[in-house]
């Protein structure tokens, strides 16, 4: 088990964001966490990352209790909806950041950093843009830089928080297919948060639907489309069902 949440709860004041959530992700799996806004999916991701602390329950990463670990020690890669690139650094420096801030003992040499960043930029197909600043890139390019930056620290788990939410529909489609290919190449355990059920069904190995701070159902896209567990899911997934022919063809 790569990531396991056991009876995790989190509230912000009166608002319950996570209510006794159990959830597991297998090694190398790409799981989509889908649900309407306010359903707690982003909070779940931030709890796994250590950016929020749960009020109750346990988060395990590779079987190890993550409670004593800060976000920097969990070996996770986090990609934010609005990219969160360091605006005053070039693309190259953004990607190199995670390597440069390592403690002296474990820090790679300048040559090693250069080679690693070059490989990563090639992986996200941005080899020629290393000297640019984030503001000089399109949204899709910025998000690929953010992905390369997250992968630079060789994370055990990749956490994507609405990574395509700020992009226009066409770019979103392209990037989502590209992400699937990338995942097949890199094979890192990935949790993708999205409010777009079509996106979730198209990209993920498994889809978990969140509703009112709980995980309502988990399954492959085909399973979810065949048998929805409650009326909410039915209506939420209805839009996917309508355009599901292509998806079904992929999963049957």
């Amino acid at each position: 088990m790569s990531v396991a949440l056991e009876r995790v709860s989190k509230r912000f004041g009166e608002f319950v964001a996570l209510d006794d959530v159990n959830f597991t992700v297998d090694e190398g799996e790409l799981v989509a966490l889908v649900g309407p806004s306010g359903s707690g999916k982003s909070t779940l991701l931030r709890v796994v990352a250590g950016l929020e602390r749960q009020d109750a329950g346990t988060v395990k990463i590779h079987g190890e209790d993550a409670a004593p670990l800060g976000p920097g020690d969990r070996r996770i890669g986090f990609v934010f909806q609005h990219y969160a690139l360091f605006r005053h650094m070039t693309v190259f420096e953004n990607v190199a950041f995670g390597l440069r801030v390592r403690p002296r003992g474990g820090r790679p040499s300048a040559g090693e950093i250069k080679a690693a960043v070059k490989d990563l930029l090639a992986l996200v197909e941005l080899d020629t843009l290393g000297a640019r600043y984030p503001s000089e890139l399109s949204g899709g390019q910025q998000q690929r830089v953010a992905l390369a930056r997250a992968l630079a620290v060789q994370p055990r788990v990749l956490l994507l928080d609405e990574p395509f939410g700020a992009l226009d529909a066409r770019v979103r489609k392209q990037l989502r297919q590209w992400l699937r290919q990338l995942h097949d190449e890199v094979k890192v355990t990935t949790i993708l948060v999205t409010h777009d059920s079509e996106e979730a069904c198209e990209v993920a190995d498994r889809v978990a639907v969140m509703h009112e701070a709980r995980i309502a159902q988990v399954g492959t896209a085909a399973e979810l489309l065949r048998e929805t567990a409650n009326p909410f899911l039915e209506s939420f997934l209805a839009e996917s069902t309508r355009k599901s022919e292509a998806v079904k063809a992929n999963y049957h």
């Binding site: 934010f80 609005h82 360091f86 005053h88 950041f97 801030v101 020629t128 953010a146 997250a150």
Partner: protein
């Protein structure tokens, strides 16, 4: 010499009529050229009257009795002492308030500290209170009859009417400038870059040094300039707490007032010109820093384009 080029209408003998009027230049906001010139003219006249003219008068008065008299006045030991004291006070107050401003802005915007509205209001207090009152408050605390007076006296510590008091009063008066500049800026920038840095394994100091500080450097610089200008120019609070001991606790602004009251106009305005020049140097330093930054940036973009083509 005859003109060979004439506007087409003139060449064809057509008098400029209503057609020409349609081509009157208007701006995006739609006001006419006349309105624009009135606005610009008013602004310029205002600037000249309230900023340019006083600055000019300072130098004019200082040099009235000739360059020789000007430099003689500047060599006066008391004036030089006042200049050194002013630089010393600014040299202590500005770095301390930079540290305070950074800490306060960080706590308020990034640290989710409870009761931050109160902290913001408190940081604004020195702007709202008259400096004279601030000075009197310090006297109430540290003066002979003040709260800490007996204790200070028992331990043989003198604060009122010393350089220490001048420094304390200046710190109080200039406290808001850096924080005020940084809080809105950091609020707008949010915390996601810091969150990204922490997930990448950066320590608190690395995040501050490599992510937060570079993002706020221009705001910080502007805050430092404002803080410095006020620290060097402060009169009211310093006037009260210093006791105006000539050649000991008089900063430049206090010294200028003393000279002026003694009808020594050449010396008063010579000292004023020093203060004005300090202000100009501060602003010029800020401008140069900004320019070199933009130039470096432009060079980088050019190099990139050359590499790609």
């Amino acid at each position: 010499m005859s003109t060979t080029i004439a506007p087409p209408a003139a060449r064809h003998g057509i008098p400029p009529g209503p057609r020409a009027k349609r081509h009157t230049v208007t701006t995006a906001t739609g006001e006419s050229a006349t309105a624009r010139w009135i606005l610009i003219g008013t602004a310029l006249a205002y600037l000249f009257l309230f900023l340019g003219l006083p600055l000019f008068v300072v130098f004019e008065e200082a040099l009235k009795k000739g360059v020789g008299a000007y430099f003689t006045a500047l060599r006066d030991p008391e004036l030089l002492h006042a200049l050194r004291l002013t630089l010393l006070v600014a040299g202590i107050a500005v770095p301390l308030n930079v540290m305070f401003g950074l800490a306060a802005a960080w706590a308020i915007t990034k640290g989710r500290v409870r009761g931050h509205a109160l902290l913001v209001a408190l940081a604004d207090l020195p702007l709202a209170v008259s400096p004279v009152i601030a000075g009197l408050t310090f006297m109430l605390l540290f003066g002979m009859q003040g709260w800490f007076g007996p204790w200070l006296k028992a331990h043989d510590i003198q604060i009122a009417f010393t350089v220490t008091a001048v420094v304390l009063a200046t710190i109080f008066v200039t406290l808001p400038f850096v924080a005020r500049e940084l809080i809105p800026l950091m609020e707008e920038q949010g915390v996601t870059e810091e969150e990204a840095a922490v997930t990448l394994g950066a320590s608190g100091w690395q995040i501050f040094r490599r992510v937060t500080l570079p993002n706020i450097r221009w705001g910080l610089l502007y805050g430092v300039v404002l803080c410095n200008a006020r620290a060097m120019g402060e009169f009211g609070a310093v006037s009260v707490v210093s006791g105006r001991i000539r050649g000991q606790t008089t900063t430049l602004p206090l010294h200028i007032e003393i000279l002026y009251n003694e009808y020594d106009f050449t010396a008063a305005f010579a000292a004023s010109s020093l203060l004005a020049m300090l202000a100009v140097v501060t602003l010029a330093a800020k401008h140069l820093l900004e320019r070199s930054h933009h130039a470096a940036r432009a060079r980088l973009i050019q190099e990139q384009q050359e590499r790609q083509s």
